[in-house]
């Protein structure tokens, strides 16, 4: 009898709180978006499931001794986002960017999405109930980088209490890139501009592809060492692939290692989706700012391309500027698709890959600035 009441007191029904139920619903919503809507399922499925697991009462999976507690150590140490970056680096082909290096400026301009949002987050403090300090504002702003591992890395260093909301916002908006970007791109360009065809890219030699990551890591070491963990791991992955001498390591980094870490990273992020951290007005602020960040980044990239077009001898289709936000390779595909609406024979994909991967570098640089200046 006593045991029966003990059993009842150990049920979830007896223990669950309203906020926990809401957070479990958020988990189910993320799973729905991942599975039925195809929103970045590789991340949002584990994150959503992690949200459910971490809000199950009694089980205590996020408390010391729980499995999600230990997994989170991989984010706290920076290990998970950096290993993902290693794999992403190994998957990245810098060829199109090296063939047309001025597209790097598009990747730079789009980072205005980050810093504009930072300003916005601070301005939002005027709204009663919102209260972001500088660290939190910087962590939120990095959503504008449109780069999951970078956002998670920065948030885990500057504002771990917002990590869950920031990661969810970052991946959700990345999935929404095909919806968010096109209207902005169309609004800021003329039909003529969207029809611009670009010169075919030259073939880049393997030597250039090998030297580039080394050059990039050196420049980072000298100018912005706070970005060195992110940029360094990315460059190492890229070098493993470009050099062609460690194919077995490169393939493992791109497949099994990144897959294993993705499962762990997703669950760990989910473990930060607890009610008290997520169910606040601030989360609404974060979601709103995230949408603004992507929009500003897209607009800045397009406008920068238009400016460059005035000074450049070779024509640049301003649509590829939108790819500067990164969100690889989705944003590049969007640029291609919007371009083909105006000119079906215009293949912008390769041209958009330049600013697209430049955006990854740009976000990492911006992350370095924030990490070194915001304390």
């Amino acid at each position: 009898m006593e045991n029966l009441s003990l059993l009842w007191e150990s049920t979830g029904l007896y223990n669950i709180t309203g906020p926990q139920m809401i957070m479990m619903s958020v988990g189910f919503l993320l799973l729905f978006l991942a599975i039925k809507k195809g929103f970045e399922p590789l991340l949002l499925l584990p994150i959503g499931f992690g949200a459910i697991l971490s809000n199950i009462p009694v089980a205590g999976m996020t408390e010391e001794g729980g499995v999600l507690y230990y997994m989170y150590g991989g984010i706290k140490s920076g290990m998970f986002p950096l290993l993902i970056f290693l794999g992403v680096g190994a998957m990245t082909d810098f060829g199109p960017m090296l063939a047309n290096p001025k597209t790097l400026l598009l990747g730079a301009a789009a980072q205005f999405g980050i810093f504009g949002t930072l300003f916005g987050a601070l301005a939002l403090n005027a709204v009663p109930g919102m209260d972001f300090n500088l660290k939190q504002a910087a962590a939120i702003a990095i959503i504008g980088g449109a780069d999951g591992p970078t956002a998670i890395y920065v948030a885990s260093k500057l504002a771990p209490e917002l990590l869950g909301a920031i990661a969810v916002a970052a991946y959700s908006y990345m999935a929404l890139v095909p919806l968010i970007q096109p209207p902005i791109m169309r609004a800021l360009t003329t039909e003529e501009e969207r029809k611009i065809e670009m010169q075919q890219l030259r073939t880049v030699t393997q030597t250039e592809k090998i030297v580039f990551p080394l050059m990039l890591v050196t420049l980072t070491a000298f100018l912005l060492p706070s970005a060195a963990p992110l940029v360094g791991m990315f460059c190492m992955g890229n070098l493993m692939n470009a050099s062609g001498v460690v194919d077995r390591l490169s393939k493992t980094a791109q497949n099994e290692l990144i897959n294993i870490v993705t499962i762990f990273l997703g669950l760990s992020v989910g473990s930060k989706l607890s009610a008290d951290a997520f169910l606040t007005l601030e989360t609404l602020g974060i979601l709103g700012l995230g949408a603004i960040a992507f929009s500003i980044g897209t607009a800045s990239g397009v406008l920068m391309a238009k400016v460059m077009n005035r000074f450049s001898s070779t024509p640049i289709n301003p649509l590829i500027g939108a790819a500067g936000v990164s969100a690889v390779p989705m944003a590049a595909r969007v640029a291609n698709k919007v371009g083909q609406e105006s000119n079906p024979y215009n293949f912008l994909l390769m041209h958009a890959m330049g600013p697209n991967v430049a955006g990854v570098i740009g976000s990492a640089v911006a992350a370095g600035v924030l990490l070194s200046l915001v304390r």
Binding site: L105, F119, L122, N125, L224, G244, R248, G362, V365
Partner: protein, 79 residues
């Protein structure tokens, strides 16, 4: 709060400045590198380096041609 906004503006200026400066230097660096490499080590174009799967492909092709050969032989014997 006013102070916070002003430091936000400052961060924005410094940050965007740094991003542009960094990527602009990278452009210069890439251009110099490409010029140097194309001049001194023209070498092979990228994207064609031998991957690990290459060996497998050769193996597969060998297996296929062996299978085809086998098949032909059997087929002819029947005729």
């Amino acid at each position: 709060m006013n102070e916070l906004v002003s430091s936000g503006i400052e961060l924005m200026l410094i940050g965007m400045g740094m991003v542009f400066a960094f990527l602009a230097m990278l452009i210069v660096a890439i251009k110099s590198m490409s010029a140097a490499i194309l001049r001194f080590f023209p070498g092979l174009p990228g994207g064609h380096h031998v991957g690990t799967h290459h060996g497998d492909d050769l193996g597969a092709i060998a297996a296929i041609s062996a299978a085809v050969h086998q098949y032909r032989k059997k087929h002819q014997q029947k005729i």
